[in-house]
Amino acid sequence: MTVRIRFFAGFRELFGADIVTDMSAGMTLISLVTTQTKKNPVGYAAIFDEKGAFREFVILMKNSKRIDIADAAITPVSDGDEIAVFPPVAGG
């Protein structure tokens, strides 16, 4: 099973534009992002707090739909999904 995690703005500078990775069955949005970002302590600390929860400003999307960070632990990730992780937007 393969998923793509995309990063934007400051998070892109920390992790690169995307990570395409194999994943095991049964992963959730938070377990996937945790696993893939923990290798980069500075980047991890930008996204997660000391308790391992998403920082409140982090915005998540799964297949172009926003996912509330409070639902990240109950949101399953499936083969082919595109996950996006980004800081607050500032267009206009």
Partner: protein, 140 residues
């Protein structure tokens, strides 16, 4: 036209093309790179999603304010001070709808469309903080 692009546009041509039967007012919003002691600005978008969301904002504005025409062009890439960042052209029967529709669109973009700006300075760069964005955390 709804577009995220690197190229600039001819605003005059957009205004002329926006006029159709029933148009009584055209409002243009033109966001530009402000000289805040920066050398340039770098803009980045989650392009597929941002384009979809701009189209949805335009549709909502059209329905809510009875707009006759909407263009939204948001530029990305590296822009110099004074260059156009965002052009919104709204045509309506009357000025009230045109002003309100234009305001609705810019506020919708600010609130959630995945686009980011980095101000480049002689010392380096700084990401412009968002006005709204939160991943939220439900309390219930």
């Amino acid at each position: 036209m709804i577009s995220i692009q690197t190229e600039d546009v001819d605003i005059g041509a957009l205004i002329n093309a926006s006029k159709r039967y029933g148009t009584g007012a055209v409002v243009v919003f033109n966001g530009v790179v402000r000289d805040d002691d920066i050398t340039e600005m770098e803009l980045e978008a989650y392009e597929d999603v941002a384009t979809q969301e701009l189209a949805l904002i335009a549709k909502d504005a059209t329905e809510q304010f009875r707009l006759l025409h909407v263009d939204i062009i948001h530029r990305i890439g590296r822009l110099k001070v004074g260059e156009n960042i965002l052009i919104i052209v709204v045509a309506a029967g009357h000025r009230e709808e045109a002003y309100a529709g234009s305001r609705f669109i810019i506020e919708g973009i600010k609130a959630g469309v995945p686009i980011w700006k980095k101000e480049l300075t002689k010392e380096g760069g700084r990401w412009v903080p968002g006005e709204h964005g939160h991943g939220t955390r439900k309390t219930s």
